[in-house]
C-alpha cells in the first residue's frame, strides 16, 4: 500500500517538475533571455599576491604602514573603519608613542566633561576609527545618494577580497564603445563612473587614487597600482588581524595531528593484528 501511494506521489512530483521543465524550455526557445551589459562586461578581479597569502604568509609591516597611510590620507575622507581601534595599530610595528601620536591626529566625537554637551576631541589609543559622516543620511547627501561602506571587513565581504579591492581601485576606465553599441541603454549615468570590476559596472565613487597622491615615508614610489596594492594589504589586516596567528597556530595543530594520527594508525594495526587473517605467503 505504501509503495502504491508512493508510486503515485513520485509520479505526481515528476510530472509537475517535468511540466515546469517543458514550460521553461518553451519560454527559453521562444523568448531567449536578453543578454545584459553586466553579464558580458563584468570582469573578475586580476590576481594579486600579498605577503600574507598562503599557508606560510607573513605580514609585510612596511606595506601595512603604507596602506594605513593611504587609508588615512585618501579613503578615510568617505569610508569608516569602525571595527578597528587605534591600539590595534601597534600590530603594524608602531611604537606605543607612535600609536598615541597617530590616535591624537584623528578627531573623534566626545562629550564635554563640564557641560555634558557633545564636542570633538583628539583620539586616544582606546578609541575606534571615527566615521567621516555623523549618520547615513549625511553620508548619502555627500556621495550622490550612495553610502560609502565601512572598510573594516571589505576584503572578507567580497569574492577574492584583496584582489577585488586592488582591481577596483585600478580598474576605472572609459566605457567601451562596444558596450554602448550593444547596450545603448547601459550608458553610465551622471555622477557614476564606469568600472568593469564593480558588480553593476557603474560606481558612485570617483577614481580615488592618482600618482604621487601620498608621499611614502619609506621612499616607495606612490603609483596608483602601488597605493592600491598597499591599501588592499592594509584592508586584509583590518578584516582579520588574527590572520597570521591563525595560520601559525594551524601549523602547530597540523604537526600534532599528523603525528597523533600516525600513532593511531599503528595502534589500530597492533590491536587488530591478532584477528587479521594471516594468509600463507604465495611464492
Amino acid at each position: 500500500m505504501i509503495r502504491l501511494i508512493g508510486f503515485f506521489v513520485g509520479v505526481a512530483f515528476t510530472v509537475a517538475v517535468l511540466w515546469a521543465f517543458a514550460t521553461g524550455a518553451y519560454t527559453a526557445a521562444t523568448e531567449p533571455a536578453a543578454p545584459t551589459a553586466e553579464h558580458e562586461f563584468h570582469r573578475t578581479p586580476r590576481p594579486l599576491h600579498l605577503a600574507s597569502d598562503g599557508p606560510f604568509g607573513r605580514w609585510d609591516l612596511q606595506q601595512l604602514q603604507r596602506g594605513y597611510q593611504v587609508y588615512k590620507e585618501v579613503c578615510s575622507a568617505c569610508h569608516s573603519l569602525k571595527y578597528v581601534a587605534f591600539r590595534d595599530l601597534a600590530q603594524l610595528g608602531y611604537t606605543e608613542a607612535e600609536v598615541k601620536a597617530t590616535a591624537a591626529s584623528w578627531t573623534v566625537p566626545g562629550i564635554d566633561p563640564v557641560t555634558g554637551e557633545t564636542n570633538t576631541r583628539p583620539g586616544t589609543p582606546t578609541d575606534y576609527f571615527p566615521s567621516p559622516f555623523p549618520n547615513d543620511i549625511a553620508a548619502r547627501a555627500a556621495n550622490n545618494n550612495a553610502i560609502p561602506p565601512d572598510l573594516s571587513l571589505m576584503t572578507k565581504a567580497r569574492h577574492d577580497g584583496a584582489a577585488y579591492v586592488h582591481s577596483l581601485l585600478t580598474g576605472y576606465q572609459d566605457q567601451p564603445a562596444e558596450l554602448l553599441k550593444k547596450f545603448p541603454d547601459a550608458k553610465t549615468g551622471p555622477g557614476l563612473h564606469y568600472n568593469p570590476y564593480f558588480a553593476n559596472l557603474n560606481l558612485a565613487m570617483a577614481p580615488p587614487l592618482s600618482d604621487d597622491q601620498v608621499t611614502y615615508a619609506d621612499g616607495t614610489k606612490a603609483t596608483v597600482d602601488q597605493m592600491a596594492t598597499d591599501v588592499a594589504a592594509f584592508l586584509t589586516w583590518t578584516a582579520e588581524p588574527s590572520l597570521i596567528k591563525r595560520k601559525q597556530t594551524g601549523w602547530a595543530v597540523m604537526i600534532f595531528l599528523v603525528f597523533a594520527t600516525i600513532l593511531a594508525w599503528f595502534a589500530k594495526k597492533q590491536v587488530w593484528a591478532p584477528i587479521t587473517p594471516k594468509r600463507p605467503k604465495k611464492d
Binding site: R3, F21, A264
Partner: protein
Amino acid sequence: MSFPWAKQYEPKAPLMRYLDEKLPLPRFLYNAVGGGYPVPRNLNYWWNFGVLAGFCLVLQIVTGVILAMHFAANAGVAFNSVEHIMRDVNWGWMLRYAHANGASFFFIVIYIHIFRGFFYGSYKAPREMVWLLGVVIFLLLMATAFMGYVLPWGQMSFWGAKVITGLFGAIPIVGEPIQIWLLGGYAPDNAALNRFFSLHFLLPFVIAGVVILHIWALHIPGSSNPTGVEIKSESDTIPFHPYYTAKDGFGLGVFLIAYCLMVFFLPNFMGHPDNYIPANPLSTPAHIVPEWYFWPFYAILRAFTADILFVPAKLLGVLAMFSSILVWFFLPWLDKSPVRSGHYRPVFKKFFWVLVVDMAVLFYCGGAPAEEPYVMLSQIATAYYFLHFLVILPIVSMIERPNPLPFSITEAVLGSDDKAVMAANATPAT
C-alpha cells in the same frame, strides 16, 4: 538485548564495585561502547561516520556554549558582537571558525553516514527504528544549522531567514499568519533573532537526546555490516573495545586533519562573503543562497517554476522540498529487497550511483543563480530524485535477482576457499 557471548562487565576495584551497585553507569557504558558490545568483525571505514557525527555534535555544543557567552542576540549588536568575538575575545576567532566549519563538517559526515545507509541497506528490518530516528536527527540538525546561520545577522543571515520562513507563506490560507507567528513580525527582526538564538541553543540538546535513542535502537539488533548478512555466531563479532575504538581513533585523526585544515587555512571557504556585510533589509543580495549543505534541497524547491491547475508553483516547490526528505521515512517499506548490502544487488548498485550523481547535480544547481541552464538541469535532477525513491527502488526490489550472499560474516572475511586459514582464525583472540 545483546548476544549471549557478549563479555560481562566485572568491576575489580572496590570503588567500581560500589558504583556498580548504586549507579551502574560504567556497566552501561561498557555494554554500549566498550568490550560488552559485540560488533561485526568486517565493518569498513564507512562505519566510522556514526562516531564522527557524535564527535561533531559534542564539538558544536562545546564551541557553541562558549560562543554564546560572548554573543549578543539583538539585531542592533549581533553583527558587532561576532566581530568582538573575532577581534577581542581570546582565541575567539578560533572558536567561531571551529563552530562555523564544525557545522559544515557535521553535514559532510552526516551525508556520508546517510549514503552509507542507502548503499548498505541499513534502513531495512530489523533496523527501521534506527533509520527513522536518524531522519529525525537530520531534520533537527537542518533546523539547528539554519537558525545558527541567522545569528551573525549578516546579509545572507537576514535574507536566508526571509526566504526560508517565506516558504511557510506558500501554504494556502493559514500560511501568512503562520509565517508572521514564526517570525514574531512581518520580516526577520529582533523577535526572530532572539527566538532563533533560544532554539539554536536548545535543539542541540534535543538532538543529543534523539542520538541516545538512535544508539539505543541500534544496540537492540546490533550494528549492520558491509555484507548485510546478520550475525550468526561468536566468530562473526569482535568487542567494540578495543577493536573499533582503535579504528575510530584513527578515523577521528584523519577527520581532524581535514577539519583543522579548513579551520586554520580556509575558514571562510564554505561560507558566503555577503555574510560579512551587516544585515540590511533595504538591500537585497544579487543571489540569495543558503549554506552549501542545503543546496540540493534548495534546488528542488526552485525547480518547480510552473503552476499546475490551481496549485501555485511556490507551493509545489515547498511540498517537494519537504517531501524530498520525508520520503526517507518510508524507505524501509519502499525497498523490500531481502538483501541489504548494495554489493550483492547489481541493479540497485547502478541506481545508487546514479542517485549520488543526481545529488551532486542538485547540489551544484542549488548553489548557482536561478538562471538557465541551472534551472532546467535541476528540474531533470529533481524528477530523477523522486523517481528514484518512489518508483525505481520499489520496482528494482521486486524484479532484481541478487548475487549469492556469503554464508556468514566470518566466511566473507576469511574466504571460503581457504578452509585451513578459516579454521585458524575463526575464534577472535581475547
